[in-house]
Each structure stands twice: as structure tokens, then as C-alpha cells.
């Protein structure tokens, strides 16, 4: 974002180092620091970006540990638990720290037809940490059945805890959200990778060679950006064979989304290439006799790597929102798959807004994730060029 006045990075304007100047050590460090170290220092100054970075790391930790964080089978439906509001957690049992919830009994009110739940104060269900629950495999390899939280007796008990309430089919929202997070965030990664590859390759061709290639690619980009994305998605999504499993549809969707996402990246790359073509170090590399490939990959790419990282990070939120939108339209992931988009799609109706609004909670991680990626990307972009302003 902004430069720090204290660390003058332009050697020409820095005061001549004297053996007794106070800023000696620091300036020495600056001069010998590598590009990446400078980037890190610059990045660190941007507090929000750092916090966002931590949030993103937390999210991806959640992705890996989704099974651990979930405590109920996300597909286990039970009509008697349908549309249960989030349970109130009591943190202190007497004086001790011992979180618990009350058992809940529900019935359908014959007058209002709503499901009404009453907590039964006589039945306390203590929440256990690292409790036993359903079996799963850590990283697909190690079978275990420990979860972050749970209740005694795992699923043998007719009750369990419902932190965020349940959906229409009585499925625990928290657990579904954990699995949904996993899918939504990984779709973003795959899609961004595809966009990245396309963007760098095509943008590079465009910027480095210029001329005809540049014009063609530029025009293609323009055309693609002028087409309203929804029909494009719809057409492509509708063309997917119905026999494909949810997994295959998932990959196809990411590719479809990224087919449009690469344009921004390509423009950034192209801009960088254009600017850099005339730089001294590139010219000298060519003069020295480096091949084109070497010039590009050894000399040019590293210098705008940081920009690429920044742009990629900024492209992720767009992926997430796209997946959400597509699933909402019924074109992206569909049940029984679970993603943020699917969860929101199931909440996209009047009865949810009016009577069971907790089902809209999946919007919160969407918002947080998008904001975190945006701030992170901003921070990275500002830090991307430590030699510039």
C-alpha cells in the first residue's frame, strides 16, 4: 500500500553510511536482504493482510481436518430433529469448566405447523473434547474416530449436540459446513491453478512476442469478457453428461469457471512482460546470449512472480463466489455433494428467511473467506514490488 519513510529503499537517496550512524545495522540488513525477505517485511507492515493470512491458513487447516472438526454424519437425516435451532451451550457446570447442552424434545405444533423444540433441563448432555464419533480416515490413510467435540456414547445416544442447528432433513449444520468448506475451498484452488496456467502462458505469449499473437489473444480476452458469464456457464454446465459422478462434475465445474477467470491474470502478465521487455537486465541477458526460454524463465518470471501470486490470491474469491452462484442456479454442485453453494442454495427460500434463519449461516464463512483472500491479496500485491513505490 504505502512506503515506509523510515526504510529508504532507493540507494541513491539514502544517506551515506557512516560508521557511527544509528541506522547502520538496519540499513545494512536492507542492502543484503533478498527480494523475498524484503517482501516479507513490507507485507508484515500491513496488519490486516497478516491477519487475513492467518485466517486463510486457519481455513485450509479446516479443510484438512474437516472430518475431525465435524462431529455428526453430514448425511444422517432424522425427521424428528428437522429444523432445530442452534443449541445453547452452557460453559460452566456449577463452578467447573464443563460445557454441556440440554437434551431437546421436538414436535410439530399442530396450529402453526412449525417444529417447536423445548430444552429439557433435567437432561444435561456434557460436551466432551476429542470424543468418539463416526469413523473416518485422516488424510485418507489412518482410520480413527476421534473428533474435536462430541457427546458420550457417540451416536449410540439418541441425542447429540447441534451447534448450528439442523436443516430440513435433520442433518447437523456445523458438520455439513465443515465438509462444505473443504469442497468450496479446494474448488477454488483447482480453478485458480487452471486460470494461472492459462493466464501465464497466454499472457506471456501476448506480452513477450507482441504483434499478431498479442492482437489475437487480446481480442479473445475482450470477447470472453463481453459475454455475460451466466449463459456461458449454463450452456457449458448443461452440456455435461448426466452420467458423470459428483466428483467428475466437480472438476468440470472448476474448469468451466476458470475458463473465464484467466483473462484478468493474462492481462496482468502481459502488462508485466511489456514493461519488462525494455528493462536493462532483460536486454543485457539477451545480449549476453541467453536463449529466449532462459531469458523468460530465469530472468523475467521471478521478477513478477510476486505479482502473479497477488493476482492469483485475488482470483480465489471470484472462484468461490462463482461456485456459490452456479450452485444456486442449480448448475454447479448439487446434493448429495456439500459445498457452500449447495448449503446456501438450500437456504435460498422464504421459509428459511422467515422461520429457520440459522440455515443462512454458511454465508458467514463465505464472507470471511472472500474478505480474507482480498485483503491478503492486497497485502501481497503491495509487497510484491519491494523495489518500487
Amino acid at each position: 500500500m504505502t512506503a515506509e519513510p523510515e526504510v529508504a529503499l532507493d540507494p541513491a537517496s539514502a544517506p551515506l553510511p557512516g560508521p557511527s550512524s544509528v541506522g547502520d545495522a538496519r540499513e545494512q540488513r536492507v542492502y543484503v536482504a533478498s527480494q523475498w525477505q524484503l517482501m516479507w517485511w513490507r507485507f508484515r507492515k500491513h496488519k490486516i493482510a497478516v491477519v487475513s493470512g492467518l485466517v486463510v491458513i486457519a481455513f485450509y487447516a479446516g479443510v484438512l481436518g474437516a472430518d475431525f472438526l465435524a462431529y455428526a454424519d453430514p448425511d444422517a437425516s432424522e425427521a424428528q430433529r428437522s429444523l432445530m435451532p442452534p443449541q445453547r451451550v452452557y460453559w460452566f457446570d456449577g463452578w467447573r469448566f464443563g460445557p454441556y447442552v440440554y437434551a431437546v424434545k421436538g414436535a410439530r405444533d399442530p396450529q402453526s405447523f412449525k417444529r417447536v423444540y423445548r430444552a429439557d433441563p433435567s437432561q444435561k448432555i456434557p460436551i466432551r473434547f476429542f470424543a468418539e464419533g463416526f469413523e473416518y480416515r485422516v488424510l485418507g490413510l489412518i482410520p480413527t474416530s476421534r473428533h474435536l467435540i462430541g457427546v458420550d456414547g457417540g451416536l449410540d445416544a439418541g441425542q447429540t449436540v447441534f451447534l448450528l442447528g439442523t436443516d430440513v432433513q435433520g442433518r447437523d449444520l456445523w458438520s455439513r459446513l465443515m465438509y462444505g468448506t473443504r469442497i468450496s475451498l479446494t474448488i477454488g484452488l483447482f480453478g485458480v491453478t487452471v486460470s494461472l496456467v492459462l493466464g501465464v502462458v497466454l499472457g506471456g505469449l501476448s506480452g513477450f512476442y507482441g504483434g499478431v499473437a498479442d492482437t489475437v489473444i487480446q481480442r479473445t480476452i475482450e470477447i470472453l469478457r463481453s459475454i455475460p458469464t451466466i449463459p456461458l456457464w449454463m450452456g457449458l454446465a448443461a452440456a455435461l453428461p448426466r452420467e458423470w459422478s459428483v466428483l467428475q462434475v466437480y472438476f468440470a465445474i472448476t474448469i468451466i469457471i476458470s475458463l473465464l477467470g484467466w483473462t484478468d491474470l493474462a492481462r496482468v502478465v502481459r502488462g508485466r512482460f511489456l514493461a519488462m521487455r525494455e528493462e536493462d537486465f532483460v536486454v543485457s541477458a539477451r545480449l549476453v546470449g541467453c536463449s529466449q526460454m532462459r531469458t523468460i524463465f530465469v530472468h523475467m518470471v521471478p521478477s513478477f512472480m510476486s505479482h502473479i501470486i497477488a493476482a492469483t490470491t485475488l482470483a480465489l474469491p471470484a472462484m468461490i463466489i462463482s461456485e456459490t452462484a452456479l450452485s444456486f442456479l442449480g448448475l454447479g454442485l448439487r446434493p448429495p455433494a456439500i459445498s457452500w453453494g449447495v448449503l446456501l442454495q438450500q437456504a435460498q427460500n422464504v421459509q428459511t428467511v422467515a422461520i429457520s434463519p440459522w440455515l443462512m449461516l454458511p454465508a458467514v464463512p463465505v464472507i470471511i473467506a472472500v474478505m480474507a483472500f482480498n485483503f491478503l491479496g492486497d497485502g501481497l500485491r503491495d509487497a510484491a514490488d519491494p523495489y518500487g513505490r
Partner: protein, 683 residues
């Protein structure tokens, strides 16, 4: 991805069975209580409706009309009401009271594909015969009387003297002959003859006896004709006119669009001017009740701004033949205005907000609590009209599936089907998706339906019995299971996987329900995949014999003989089918397709036979058909007699003559069966 890196849990499966049984018991108790409570809650009333008065002695002698029509008569622009109505008016006794003229009925529709909306509310109905309010008996409607002759081979239709089309021209036997000779028999307009005009595959004819009498003639006795004329069939009024069917058509108006009467050159000019592709397209568009405001009609309201605009408006037909017992020409309500709702949430929200006066179509049962909550604020009352058909949700086995012979073999094994039927926890599904208002059931229709084979068939193979299901599956050769507990195929090729095809965006949430069933079938070791598809794709795959299981409903099946589509494989164009090859066999009298297995063949033959036998025998045949259906479980019944499919009704408090419960059926064109022409605004 929920299946990535997770193993189903054997230990918890057992404990979950215990839990399920416990919960199941609790649920049954609660459900029974809830059901009793629900009846008390006042949402489901008593079946009632207006009656048609057939005794001429009770006809009114003097007539009244709406004030604006009276003004036109005074100005000399309209003949007197007695002349407009004719000597044989269609007299309807309003349900509660004689109504008042005036008002605009506001409703919502979803676009040009939603023509049923208008037909159900506003077409009269204009069938020649129609159902009484119980949906049981066919009584004369547009036709004054129907007389059987020649042992059922001929039917004499008596028309009403002085009855006129909406433009004042007489409605006579010529309109029937025109339809039969010039529309029905014209291969461009109607490429395939209709099964409704045929008995045992042989087509009938229509001939004029005199101005007000028409004869339908058939080569063999066609006892079902009155029911066919009453139902929403190809002979059921102007709703199918846009496809060239209906039984009658306004000859005086349509002749100008027909090459036989207008010259070829003249017709070509008209077609080009109106920007149609061909005279056929133009003719059928002109004959469209919902699309052409100039088309003369017999219904109480006629289209003024057509269905392909944002507001579908209908206004009173000044020549309406409907009157009430006091001689007031119906309808009471002046106008019907249906506004376009871009999506179902918007329509439901508008209904919740009280922006519609009477809305039955597109109301989502899942929103029932919100509707109830806003009754006072919106000034309306909510009614539930459960259907009479056994399956608000059914699952069809495609008995012809041959892409995988192993699966085909099991689908053709009765005990396999029965076991799967026993593996479904219907109470859970009822509570979650029907809010407890449906009835867990096999496919047979309501107890009050005349073809119902007996109360013991309601629960036949339609309860939850996991133990028995497992035993049955073990016995037929699927006893081996894999590590996760799923049954292995008998041909050694691994796990037995079957797939169900569902449609999204319907009144009933087939996909979500199928997901629930998928979880339930895990307990009997069956691995089910749920595949949601678009309507057109569903049709394509079904017709191509690519479907394994199909989810749908069997609405209309309570009228077994006019709507057999969901009882046995009757049509290729279906979103779910029990056997497309059987359809071909059925319609080609054995020449094409594949011969059905013995019991289904028996079912089909009984069905065909019923058309040519008197009513008593027909009823007996109907019961036997349902018996076979319930015993063989070609189709699994899940939840029946529910209000999910157009059974939730929102009516403003200021409307009168509203029945507390209606017979909900496509044949009854609900709410048409309650004669909306008698609805009125109290204030």
C-alpha cells in the same frame, strides 16, 4: 466430498438400527397424534362443492346480469340476457349463497408454459361432461344430456338450445362436425389420432343428428365415453384445442384460417402477415384458448391479454351459459388478472403477502408455517386439499432396463422390489417433506375412490420392516455383502449399485427425498445413487430405456382409466417409466416391443377390457388392477394423499362460496371442480 476418505461404520450401523427403531416408534406415536391434531387444526375441511342442477323444473325463469353488461344491453350493444343464455342454461347451485357481482381476482402465473393455471381456474370447466364435486360421478356439463344407444356403440349428445359462443354466434352440432372433419381428420393439424376417440384401437366418428344433437359412433361398445368426456382428456374441452383436439371448435371463426375454406393464396398472405412459419402453426395458435383473445370460447371468462405477456387477463364472457339458481348469469367476478412471477419464491412470497386473492398453483407446502403465520396480516386463510391418489411420491422400477443384465434381473424379481419398498421409512419422509400432512401408502388411491381394492392394500409392502427386507434380499441371492455392508452382485462383479433419476424444481422435492431414501437403504445393504436431471433429459433417457429407477408422482391415477400413465407403462413420453418396451407392445398390440411378464400383461389386458364393459364390471376390473399393482410393486408408493401437489390453497377472507375442501385432481381441474364462476367478493 463426503465419500472421500471415509469408511461407513459397521458398529454404528447396528446401534443406529436400534436408534432408528426407537425413533420410529416414537415417530409413529407422535405422527398419529399429530395427524389427529392436524384434522383439528382446521386446515383440512370437509369435501364440498357446488352442484349442477339438472331438473328443468328447477331452472330459473328470469335472469339477471352484471351491471356493466346490463348497461351494454341498454345501449343496444348486447342482446338481452335471457337471449344470450339460451333456453337450456347450465344451472349451478352455489355452495353457500347467491353471490354479488364485481371484483377482480388476482393470481400469479409463471409464464407461457403455465397454461394449466388458467384452465384450472377459469375455463368453466367447458367439458361436455364433468365431475360432480366428489370427483366420482360424471354429470352433463356443456352437453345437456348424454344418451347411450346401440349397446354403447353410439352416444347421443344433446346440446343446449340457444347456447352461444362468446362472440354471440350459436354453438351447434356444426362445431362438432367441423372439428371432426376439418381438424381432427386433417393430418397436418393432428398427425396422430387420439386414443380417446377410439375403442380397442378402432377410431370412432362424429356425426350431426340435428342442430342441437350430435352422435359419437364407435365400432364397439365404448362404455367409458362419459368419463372420457368428463376428464382432462383429448375430448375434454378447449384446453387441448391448441393441439387440434377437444371434440368441438368454433367453426365460424376458424374457417378463415383453414385452407379448405379460405383460399390457398389468401391463407398464405395471412400467414406471412402474421409472421407464422406455416398455416398449421397459425391455425393452432388461433385455436389456443390462452393465447388468442379473438377465439370464441364457452368458458365463463375469456382471455383478453394472452398468456405470453406479463399479465394474463381474462374477462367475463357476456354469452356465458352458466347461471346460478336465482337466474344470475355467472361468473360473479368481472376479471381475472394473473401476473407473471419470475420465480416460485416470488410467487409464494406474494401469496404470503396477501397479494393474491385465490392461489392454489405453485404454492409450496414447505412454506406452510410461513403462510399460517401471516394469515392475519395478509387477510387470508390457508386450506389443504390432499389428493386422492396413492402417490404424491412414487418410485418406478424400469422392468425393461437391459444395459446391465444383473440389475435388469433384480428389477424383474418381485421380492427385490418388495424388499426395497419395505426399506423406506415413510414416516420420516412424511414428517420432513410433507410436514406430516401426507399418508404413508402403497400406490393405491384413497379409500373413498371407487377403484380402491380394500383397506388392507394401503399398507401392503408399504411399511418399514428392515428385518424382513434384509431377509428377503438374503433369500433371493443377494446375501453376500462387502466390507461396508453393501450387497454384492450375484454375477461377482462387485457391489450392487442402482441409480434413481429425479427432477428438480418440482412441487415435491424428489431429489432430497431420494437422498433420504439413499441413507435408509444403506440399512438393507443397497447402494443407491441419486441423479438429478432436467426434464427434457429425463424424457430422453426414459424413452431410450436408460433409466433404472425413476421418482415421480402418480397424480391422476385415481382416475385409473383416463390417467393410466403412472399405473402401468402407457406412454413413451414420461419422466419415469416402468418399461418403455412394454409401452410399444401395448400400443402395437404385440407387434413391437417386448411382451410384459404375466401379471403385468394381465393388468394391461384388464385395463383395455374395462373400456368396453358396463360400469359395474369396470369398477371390479379397476379394483383388480390396483390389487396387482399393490402386490407386484412395479411402482413403490412412498407418500400418498398429500397436499404437496397443488394442494395448498390461499384464499382471501373476503371471498365467498369457497369450499373448505376440494377434490384435488388434474381431471377435476382443481379448483375448476369447485366452479370458480360461483366465487364472489363479499365486500
Amino acid at each position: 466430498m463426503t465419500d472421500l476418505g471415509r469408511t461407513p461404520r459397521t458398529r454404528q450401523r447396528r446401534s443406529r438400527i436400534v436408534m432408528a427403531l426407537g425413533v420410529g416408534l416414537l415417530t409413529t406415536v407422535l405422527a398419529a397424534g399429530a395427524l389427529a391434531q392436524m384434522a383439528k387444526s382446521g386446515l383440512i375441511g370437509k369435501l364440498e362443492g357446488p352442484e349442477v342442477v339438472t331438473d328443468p323444473a328447477k331452472f330459473p325463469k328470469t335472469f339477471n346480469e352484471a351491471p356493466q353488461l346490463a348497461a351494454l344491453v341498454k345501449a343496444g350493444r348486447l342482446p338481452a340476457v335471457a337471449e344470450r343464455v339460451g333456453q337450456d342454461p347450465l344451472v349451478i347451485k352455489p355452495l353457500h349463497e347467491i353471490g354479488k357481482y364485481g371484483g377482480t381476482w388476482r393470481g400469479g402465473f409463471t409464464g407461457p408454459a403455465d397454461f394449466w393455471n388458467g384452465f384450472r381456474c377459469c375455463s368453466g370447466p367447458d367439458h361436455l361432461m364433468f365431475w360432480d364435486y366428489t370427483g366420482d360421478k360424471a354429470v352433463p356439463n356443456i352437453a345437456r344430456g348424454l344418451e347411450m344407444q346401440d349397446g354403447g356403440r353410439a352416444w347421443l349428445l344433446h346440446l343446449r338450445r340457444g347456447m352461444k359462443w362468446s362472440d354471440g354466434k350459436p354453438f351447434t352440432a356444426d362445431d362438432f362436425v367441423f372439428w371432426f372433419e376439418d381438424i381432427y381428420r386433417n393430418k397436418d393439424l393432428v398427425p396422430t389420432p387420439s386414443a380417446a376417440m377410439a375403442i380397442n384401437g378402432k377410431q370412432g366418428t362424429i356425426e350431426k343428428v340435428d342442430t342441437h344433437t350430435v352422435r359419437f359412433k364407435f365400432p364397439e361398445p365404448y362404455f367409458m365415453l362419459p368419463d372420457v368426456l368428463a376428464g382432462s382428456t383429448d375430448l375434454g374441452g378447449q384446453w387441448s384445442a391448441y393441439r387440434g383436439l377437444g371434440g368441438f371448435a368454433p367453426a365460424h371463426y376458424l374457417k378463415q384460417f383453414h385452407p379448405k375454406y379460405a383460399g390457398e393464396a389468401e391463407l398464405d398472405r395471412k400467414v406471412k402477415e402474421a409472421k407464422f412459419d406455416s398455416w398449421v402453426r397459425m391455425f393452432l395458435a388461433k385455436n389456443d384458448w390462452a393465447l388468442n383473445p379473438d377465439l370464441p370460447v364457452l368458458s365463463p371468462w375469456k382471455t383478453v391479454t394472452p398468456i405470453n405477456t406479463p399479465t394474463w387477463t381474462l374477462e367475463r364472457n357476456p354469452y356465458s351459459v352458466f347461471v346460478d339458481t336465482a337466474g344470475n348469469q355467472l361468473p360473479y367476478i368481472d376479471r381475472v388478472v394473473l401476473t407473471l412471477g419470475e420465480n416460485l419464491e416470488v410467487i409464494n412470497l406474494r401469496a404470503i403477502a396477501g397479494e393474491y386473492d385465490f392461489q392454489q398453483r405453485h404454492i409450496d407446502l414447505g412454506k406452510l408455517p410461513v403462510f399460517i403465520e401471516n394469515q392475519a396480516k395478509g387477510g387470508y386463510k390457508v386450506y389443504l386439499d390432499p389428493g386422492d391418489y396413492g402417490g404424491d411420491m412414487i418410485i418406478k422400477f424400469n422392468l425393461n432396463y437391459d444395459a446391465d443384465p444383473e440389475i435388469g434381473k433384480w428389477f424383474n424379481t418381485a421380492d427385490f422390489r418388495r424388499a426395497l419398498a419395505l426399506g423406506i421409512d415413510r414416516d420420516q419422509i412424511n414428517e420432513t417433506f410433507w410436514l406430516g400432512t401426507g399418508t404413508p401408502s402403497s400406490v393405491v388411491p384413497a379409500d373413498s375412490n371407487k377403484y380402491n381394492p380394500g383397506p388392507q392394500y394401503r399398507k401392503l409392502w408399504a411399511t418399514l420392516d428392515v428385518k424382513k427386507a434384509n431377509e428377503m434380499l438374503d433369500k433371493i441371492g443377494l446375501a453376500k455383502k462387502d466390507a461396508q455392508g453393501y450387497r454384492l452382485r450375484s454375477d461377482g462383479k462387485g457391489r450392487l449399485r442402482i441409480e434413481i433419476m429425479t427432477l428438480g424444481g418440482q412441487f415435491v422435492q424428489y431429489t432430497q427425498i431420494s437422498e433420504m431414501i439413499r441413507e435408509q437403504w444403506k440399512k438393507i445393504g443397497i447402494d443407491l445413487t441419486v441423479q438429478e436431471v432436467e426434464r427434457s433429459l429425463a424424457l430422453k433417457r426414459t424413452a431410450a430405456n436408460e433409466q433404472q429407477l425413476g421418482a415421480w408422482n402418480n397424480d391422476g391415477s385415481e382416475h385409473l382409466f383416463t390417467f393410466p400413465l403412472h399405473v402401468f407403462p402407457f406412454e413413451l413420453a414420461a419422466v419415469a417409466s416402468s418399461g418403455p418396451l412394454y409401452v410399444k407392445w401395448f400400443h402395437s398390440a404385440g407387434a413391437q416391443g417386448k411382451e410384459p411378464e404375466p401379471r403385468m400383461k394381465e393388468l394391461m389386458e384388464k385395463w383395455k377390457k374395462a373400456f368396453g364393459v358396463p360400469e359395474k364390471e369396470r369398477i371390479q376390473l379397476g379394483k383388480e388392477i390396483w390389487k396387482i399393482a399393490a402386490e407386484e410393486v412395479y411402482i413403490i408408493g412412498v407418500i400418498g394423499m398429500g397436499p404437496a401437489s397443488m394442494g395448498v390453497r390461499v384464499v382471501k377472507n373476503n371471498m365467498g362460496n369457497i369450499p373448505s375442501r376440494q377434490y384435488n385432481s388434474p381431471d377435476g381441474k382443481t379448483p375448476g371442480i369447485s366452479r370458480p364462476a360461483t366465487f364472489f367478493y363479499k365486500k
